[in-house]
């Protein structure tokens, strides 16, 4: 399943990655190769195999429902570019 330049542009945009015009063809080629590899795997017989969701064969451990975190806002906000009234400030997003 070969990807073309516009596929790469779209994927890059969704992932917020800057892929320059000159890189597009090379990236398209690399990604297509990966998809070819996955396609090869499609030919393997997987009837009766449970799809793997995680490489470790273990189940999720559960945590007790207890509040264990204290307020560390000052520390977190000391490394934030901009804050005001306890809020993190970011460039305006309008829906």
């Amino acid at each position: 399943m070969p990807l073309d330049r516009s596929d790469v542009e779209k994927i890059a945009h969704l992932a917020r990655l800057a892929v320059s015009e000159s890189e597009l063809d090379a990236v398209a080629g690399d990604l297509s190769n990966i998809l070819d590899l996955v396609e090869q795997m499609d030919s393997a017989d997987t009837v009766g195999v449970t799809p793997m969701a995680h490489p470790l064969h273990m189940a999720q451990r559960l945590r007790e429902d207890r509040v264990t975190e204290t307020d560390q806002r000052e520390r977190f906000q000391s490394i934030a570019p901009a804050t005001e009234n306890g809020l993190y400030l970011v460039p305006q997003v309008i829906e």
Partner: protein, 479 residues
């Protein structure tokens, strides 16, 4: 042309846990901004999510309540999108293997019929933070206290055919999650959010293109938003246009829906299993333990109220709307020993007072014990039903128990025949003209005229005379 409306709902119920779904930060509502957002909620490098057992228990309870297929194995996935209130760049959710599989609920329609509405699935996920767009000199403020709060997203089948049915279904889910204690149901605070997928088609045809309605924070607005949207789509189609698949925001002030953004690109979430979380496996011992103390569910309780207490179906439904109300009613019945009086007063004076003061039943200043105690005094003839309203009001204002108020205000009913007879004689003597015309009237007219005399005697007794005795004595003495 005949159009058929097709509606499916996505409901986000905030789970009433103490801590977040993947971190130990508090979920308490109303804290100062970002004081309950820890490093996991902020998506700091190197942190790992650990799943909250209580959130899983709550999902299991919901599954049991709607008789769904509970998945013994479910998987968390990353839903990728960029927005400032989602610091990690992805929301942890469930896609292919949700914890709750197909189930159904029964809804009561306007014509009294019940109908099943399918629940496709319900999955666990984390909530995002909140963006505040005003007042920051061209910047957006972000509060991440809500980020990581556990949600159960409950997705229905497109089974509803009108706004009324959609509201009935949403109310039913709202009722169930509160009955089983997994969500406080507060729509104003956003603990229970409803999105509606709405489309129209000609009956028998394939599903039409749907619009997703958001920003609906009451059942009333849900009905209005859907009705507006249905009208809009029909007008559009009849004029030869096409419905675009998109998200639309409901604006309650203008009672309309507005396009928010095209979903085309936003929909490309590139889900994949979250490598930070292992599959959730539920064993039968855990499931049995979680479902052992399931409360009586709303439908069962309603039919019990109907059968055991002999309440009309509509009254049984009203009294089981919420678990606290149903508990209150049953306690009043227990204390007063009179089902009919209990139903009348809980649905009448009590509900009226709660509405008037904008209070929830749990905040009622008249407890079930107090109301039951007062009803006992009506049942044993100590006070009349009319004076009881005064007593109730006094209790509501904090005047003490019914017995204390009756005693302090001298509201005890006069049942002493001699005392009532004296009042009756006084009224007859004071109204010779009315007495004369009463005696000349025919029986039918007399029955009507008797009211005047009863009224006078009651007034003279300041409402305390036993009305039955007054009636009897008047009939004897007037003839």
């Amino acid at each position: 042309m005949v159009w058929e409306t097709v509606i499916g709902l996505e409901i986000h119920a905030q789970l009433a846990t103490r801590s977040k779904i993947f971190s130990g930060a508090s979920t308490a509502f109303g804290a100062a901004p970002n004081t309950q957002a820890c490093n996991v909620d902020l998506g700091m490098p190197g942190v790992l999510p650990v799943l909250n057992r209580e959130a899983v228990r709550m999902a299991i309870r919901f599954s049991a309540a709607i008789d769904a297929e509970l998945a013994r194995r479910s998987v968390f996935a990353r839903k990728n999108y960029f927005y400032p209130d989602l610091p990690k760049g992805y929301q942890i959710s469930q896609l292919e293997l949700p914890i709750v599989g197909p189930g159904e609920v029964q809804i009561l329609l306007d014509d009294g019929e019940t109908r099943a509405v399918g629940v496709t699935r319900a999955h666990l996920e984390e909530d995002a933070g909140k963006s505040l767009h005003e007042d920051f000199h061209g910047l957006t403020g972000v509060d991440l206290n809500r980020a990581g709060t556990p949600l159960l997203e409950i997705v229905s089948e497109p089974d509803m055919r009108s706004a009324r049915e959609a509201v009935a279904y949403a109310r039913k889910i709202h009722q169930i999650v509160q009955y089983i204690g997994i969500c406080d149901g507060n729509m104003q605070e956003g603990s229970f959010r409803v999105d509606a997928n709405v489309s129209v088609r000609h009956p028998g045809e394939e599903l039409g293109t749907r619009a997703e309605l958001k920003n609906i924070n009451s059942f009333r607005f849900l009905e209005r938003a859907i009705n507006f949207e249905v009208e809009r789509q029909i007008e559009l189609l009849e004029a030869g246009g096409e419905v675009v698949q998109e998200t639309r925001l409901y604006d309650a002030d203008r009672d309309e829906t507005r396009s928010m953004r095209s979903k085309e690109e936003a929909n490309d979430y590139r889900y994949f299993p979250d490598p930070d979380l292992l599959p959730v496996e539920l064993d039968e011992v855990f499931i049995a333990e979680v479902t052992a103390d399931m409360p009586e569910l709303p439908d069962a309780r309603r039919s019990r109220f109907n059968q055991v207490y002999g309440l009309k179906p509509v009254d049984a439904a009203t009294l089981t709307v919420s678990r606290p109300l149903a508990d209150y009613f049953e306690r009043v019945v227990e204390v007063s020993g009179d089902t009919r009086l209990a139903a009348t007063w809980v649905m009448g004076e009590l509900s009226g007072a709660l509405n008037r003061d904008g209070l929830e039943i749990t905040a009622a200043s008249v407890t079930a014990e107090m109301l039951g105690g007062m009803l006992r005094r009506i049942a044993d003839g100590t006070i009349s039903g009319k004076l009881a309203k005064q007593v109730f009001e006094a209790m509501w204002q904090g005047g003490g128990s019914a017995d204390e108020i009756i005693e302090a205000r001298g509201l005890k009913q006069i049942t002493n025949t001699g005392a009532i007879e004296k009042l009756v004689d006084e009224v007859i003597d004071a109204n010779p003209r009315q007495v004369e015309s009463f005696r000349q009237a025919d029986e039918k007219k007399q029955a009507k005229m008797l009211g005047f005399f009863v009224g006078q005697v009651m007034k003279a007794s300041r409402g305390k005379a036993n009305p039955q005795q007054v009636n009897q004595l008047l009939r004897i003495k007037l003839v």
